[in-house]
Each structure stands twice: as C-alpha cells, then as structure tokens.
C-alpha cells in the first residue's frame, strides 16, 4: 500500500508543472463494478469508487500515517489545524493515486512548498499568475473558437461561464480546464471530499470516545483508591 502511494507521488513530482500524465488515463479501480459502469452511467464511476468501503479503509490508514507524521514533526505543541488539514488532503490525493488532475495538483503543491526554489531555478515553470496579455489573448481565442465551433448553447451563457470559472477555482489544479474535463474532475473531487469528511469524522469520534473512556477509567481508579483508604 505504502509503496503504491510512494510510486504515484514520485512520478507526479517528476513531471513538475506539466500535469499531462501521458495520453491514456487508466481507470484502474479495485472494483469491477466501476469498469462496468463505464463512461455512460449517470451515477458515474466517481461515486462507485469513493463510496466503496475499500477506499475509505485505504484512506483511513493513509490519514493515520500522515497525522502521526505531523506529530513527530512538532511533538509537544499541539499540531496546527492547518497541518492536519494539509495532511488529510495529501492523504486524500495519495488515495486517488494521482489519477485525477485535482489529486496531482495537491501532490504537486505539497512537493512545491519543499522544493519551490529548485523548481523555479529549473526554468521558472511555476507561474502563479498568467501574464495579463496572455490571458486576454486566450480569452479572445476561446470566444472566437466557441462562436465558430458550434459550442453547445448552454455553455455560451454568461452565467454558466461565470459559474464554471468559480468552480475551476474551487477544484485544485483546474483553473484553466475546459467544461467537460472540469465537470469530470468536479464529480470525482466531490465524491472524494465526501469520503474525506466521513473518514475524518469517524476518526474524530473514535478519538473522542477513547478519551471519554480513559477519563472514566481514571476517575474509577481514583474512586477505588479513595475507597481503599
């Protein structure tokens, strides 16, 4: 399990800013049902994959490892909530095995904070803000292409375009994606987030329950000690 995670993360970091992982996107999921659902199913392979218990178990393990790592980094002060969230997100991206754009974006972001200097030296590939002229030119080209290529009418609406842009900002690494790819990434991302929330809540509840029982045990021990006196 750990080796699979390590393999996918190393390959995604080696591709640096170029997120295109080859032409074919393998959907290698554990369940055969996902393959049967194929591309035409309305419920989508995204749900089938993330709602299976397997993924949640795998994620749970990765999450524990990541949380333990945050603790070893800063033993006594309580781990900052930000560190916990980053650990949870990285664990989620690892569980996705880098098969989706958003997961690769998360993994790259994690790698970048450690190695940003190296990557920038390697030709300045990380560009946070596209240059204004490039952006205007791209927008003009897109409008021309849309008008000429017979884009489906729903995508030409101003409102829809705006909403798509907001959506692109919410899903990691999908700011410049076109509508069909963006919608696909979103479907996968939403299903994954739901699983993440479910798993984190289960872990938090388990920890809280364990603490309650330990406090009760300690209290009982004190009572016994008192009674023996």
């Amino acid at each position: 399990m750990i080796s699979i995670g390590a393999g996918s993360s190393s390959s995604s970091s080696s591709s640096s800013a170029g997120v295109r992982m080859g032409g074919a996107k393998r959907r290698g999921k554990p369940g055969g049902a996902a393959a049967a659902a194929g591309s035409a199913a309305a419920a989508g392979p995204a749900q089938t994959k993330w709602r299976s218990g397997t993924q949640e178990r795998i994620y749970g393990r990765r999450l524990l490892d990541a949380l333990r790592a945050t603790r070893s980094g800063a033993p006594h002060p309580q781990p900052r909530p930000r560190a916990v969230k980053d650990a949870a997100d990285s664990a989620l991206a690892l569980t996705a095995r880098g098969q989706s754009r958003w997961s690769r974006a998360i993994l790259l972001a994690g790698a970048a904070t450690c190695r940003r200097r190296v990557l920038v030296k390697a030709g300045g590939k990380i560009r946070r803000h596209p240059r204004p002229q490039a952006r205007a030119a791209a927008a003009a080209a897109k409008a021309a292409a849309a008008a000429s290529a017979g884009e489906p009418p729903v995508l030409r609406e101003r409102k829809v375009k705006d909403r798509l842009r907001v959506l692109g900002r919410l899903v990691p690494g999908c700011r410049k994606l076109q509508a069909p790819d963006l919608l696909e990434e979103t479907a996968d991302y939403v299903a994954a987030l739901e699983m993440q929330v479910k798993a984190m809540r289960a872990l938090a509840d388990a920890l809280a329950a364990a603490q309650l029982s330990s406090n009760r045990q300690q209290a009982a021990g004190d009572d016994e000690a008192d009674m023996e006196r």
Binding site: G44, L167, P180, E194, S214
Partner: protein, 85 residues
C-alpha cells in the same frame, strides 16, 4: 476516457451535468428535478464544495485538539492505533 473529443456535443454536456446532479445531496434535488438549469446546478455544486471544505477545516480543528490530549494518554494512543489498523 477523457481523450480529446474534438467538438463537444450538447449530449455530452448534459450527461456530465446530470452526473453532477446525481452527486449533490438529496435534499436539494427532491424539490423539483426540472428546476435544474445548468447555472443553478453549477451554483449548487460550488456551494456544496465550499461547505465540504468548511467541514474538513472544522474536523481538522477538532482532530488537532484531540491529538494534543492523545499525547498525554499514551496507552490510549496504542489502543487506538491498533484498533484502526
């Protein structure tokens, strides 16, 4: 599956949008399946993602608190770790 399709057809977009609709929580969908214009759906999706992000943040806060007290009760930490493996 996501190979370059060339021209994006109306059908494919509607398919993707209905796929998204299937993922959104039931409560909002039950009212009127017909009131599912693309822009409304996209807006709901954005709102849903934001609420999920917020939940993750809240859970991270909660977990970081719980983990700090965990250090003090080390037998409990062992038990939990072994349970959750």
């Amino acid at each position: 599956m996501s190979s370059r399709r060339g021209r994006i057809t109306d059908e494919e977009i509607n398919e993707l949008i209905s796929k998204l609709q299937a993922l959104l929580p039931e409560s909002s969908r039950r009212r009127a399946a017909s009131r599912s214009s693309a822009s409304k759906l996209l807006k709901e999706t954005c709102g849903y993602i934001k609420s999920l992000h917020q939940e993750v943040d809240d859970l991270s806060d909660r977990l970081s608190e719980l983990m700090s007290t965990l250090d003090d009760n080390s037998p409990q930490a062992e038990i939990i770790r072994s349970l959750l493996r």
